[in-house]
Symmetry: C2
DNA sequence: TTGTATGCGTTATCAG
DNA sequence: CTGATAACGCATACAA
């Protein structure tokens, strides 16, 4: 059987390839009769135009690139799942590339994407100002990320304020001594740092204990041992915190297993709250209280941003859905409210 | 500035585009001098041939497709990271598509991949015989999966035997009452089922307690509540098992948090062992004993299989690396060996 | 060893 | 409204 291409369809429909093309792209009017005939044969032979030929003939690539960090967490995974879903819905394919954090390696990844004719890519890495400038100078491909203005995620403010409110809530429950585990980021001004800012602001505002020993910091790709030293720094026997905030659910889960293994009860002795709202957070026992991110909104908003970078058309998102929701579950309780 | 295409490079190198093409593809000998000149200008202008044009001119697509289940776990994520790495090393890009388990949706995903000129794709879903036949009949794209013979993973046997050996090991430690949580699969003969077979064989062989209440089954996309009923079925107060096997690390982590929350100690009261060897398994407290899969080998072997499907060239893998290793960590102990 | 010319499947321009 | 045809960037058969 012959290859099913535009020529084949044209012959079977008794018209020229130009007409078939017009039917496919709705680029120029075609008489109803002919239109129907063409559509029918396309259906009949299950014809699909070759994207490669389309691209060569001047069309855009319909392919988005995604650069993933090697230290991916479940939140990022979930985000990507939605990104994939929305990209598909808009007719775009997703080409993915894992990458270590070295700048050279990121450039290599960009090069690969560029070769494949991709024009817009999303990176889970937050680039520094210099990196961003370098890329703009040397690449045709447009790179965006969580903090790019086109994404309209308002992510810094949302992170700061949701943590602030969470800590205030704990204070209102009666917690006066709240520990916090945060992420050190290479970027001066990332949304991860914003979480710490929100925490500190609430501590000050609510006049909670401000001891330095209540705060721990670890890197994004921390070792288990360094997390444990942070926990041990915070959990000093005579002066335990009654609550603990962790910058991510995964860290919280590690911490909770440590706490329970060491004979403390959650939430009777310590309440735990974290950030992200990954599905796993409600599966463990006790279920983890967490600030759940609007992943679906974020994904939609990012894809809209990428489409904008691709074709210049703005697609507004409903800002109201951009809500960070504190999910109170079993890991949070009232201090001093249980028998010893 | 003109577009940097093969014509541009040809002009700058003072030769024809045919020669440039030959240098790029090493398809025919080119004199050393000319070769060098061409290579230099390619470098100088950072020229990259258009994959679309190459494809159109008869070359293969250099793109692999991957169909991911929506209920992805960390093991699958890790596997995909390595798949991505090895595919990149071989000059292939990875286009990814998440998908629910409905057959229609899988077909839609395949269609999308096929349109993009992809010839080989890997699916995390295990297709039934009928599904496989249907796809072969209706699609040009070749679909492979964990149990495809071309992948040479020997996965059924490896799963069965590694679980068998693990349970024997526990028996030798003195465990006589071992619980097991397994996955119900729609496929009659999947590697997930093989894990249960290995368990049952060992129980029989070592003459361990065979009560039906020691065994629980859940679906791949189980709810938390159904896991908890399974746990409660196994953890009957007067006749606790001294050890528990879980078919995946993620299930084990959920189970462990339940166990600790309910006042049992790990491993003093119950030992826990599971399957996969995801990084998170050693991060929790106590660290989780698990049968770690040779993810890196598997990924390499899968990519080799996909390359074989693409170009017919066999690339042998070192079978010795296909080893499932029981990692004994803190979650395993000797029964009756601790003070109450 | 090198160059010329054709074709790959599509879109877009220009005539009819 | 429709059809012929020139691009698009590359590989390759054929000619030199």
């Amino acid at each position: 059987m012959a290859n099913i291409d535009i020529k084949f369809i044209a012959k079977k429909s008794g018209c020229s390839i130009a007409t078939v093309s017009r039917v496919i792209n709705r680029s120029k009017p075609v008489s109803e009769k002919l239109q129907k005939r063409v559509v029918d044969t396309i259906r009949k032979y299950n014809y699909n135009p070759s994207v490669h030929a389309q691209y060569l003939a001047g069309k855009k690539s319909k392919l988005f690139g995604f650069i993933m960090t090697n230290y991916i967490n479940q939140y990022q995974l979930l985000l990507f799942r939605y990104l994939n879903e929305f990209a598909c819905k808009m007719g775009y394919g997703c080409i993915i590339r894992y990458c270590n954090s070295g700048f050279e390696e990121k450039l290599e990844a960009l090069r690969e994407l560029e070769i494949r004719g991709i024009e817009v890519c999303f990176s889970l890495f937050l680039p520094s100002r210099e990196e961003e400038a370098y890329i703009k100078e040397h690449f045709r491909i447009k790179v965006c990320h969580m903090q790019s203005p086109e994404m309209r995620l308002n992510i810094m403010e949302k992170n700061e304020s949701s943590v602030y409110e969470t800590i205030c809530y704990l204070a209102q429950l009666g917690h006066r001594r709240i520990g916090g585990i945060f992420c050190i980021d290479e970027m001066d001004d990332s949304f991860l740092i914003a979480r710490k800012r929100g925490f500190l602001r609430a501590v000050k505002q609510m006049q909670l204990d401000q001891e330095e020993s209540l705060i721990g910091q670890i890197h994004g790709d921390y070792e288990k041992s360094s997390l444990i030293s942070v926990i041990e720094k915070i959990f000093v026997p005579q002066k335990l915190p009654t609550a603990l905030f962790c910058f991510s659910d995964e860290v919280a889960i590690e911490v909770m297993s440590w706490i329970m293994k060491h004979g403390y009860r959650i939430p009777e002795d310590v309440s735990v709250v974290s950030f992200d709202g990954i599905p796993f957070s409600e599966r463990i026992t006790p279920s983890l209280s967490t600030i759940s991110q609007p992943v679906e909104y974020q994904a939609k908003s990012i894809i809209n941003g990428m489409l904008y970078l691709q074709d210049g058309v703005e697609r507004p998102c409903d800002e109201k859905e951009n809500e960070y929701l504190l999910q109170i579950r079993d890991s949070v309780g009232i201090p001093g409210h249980y028998e010893k």
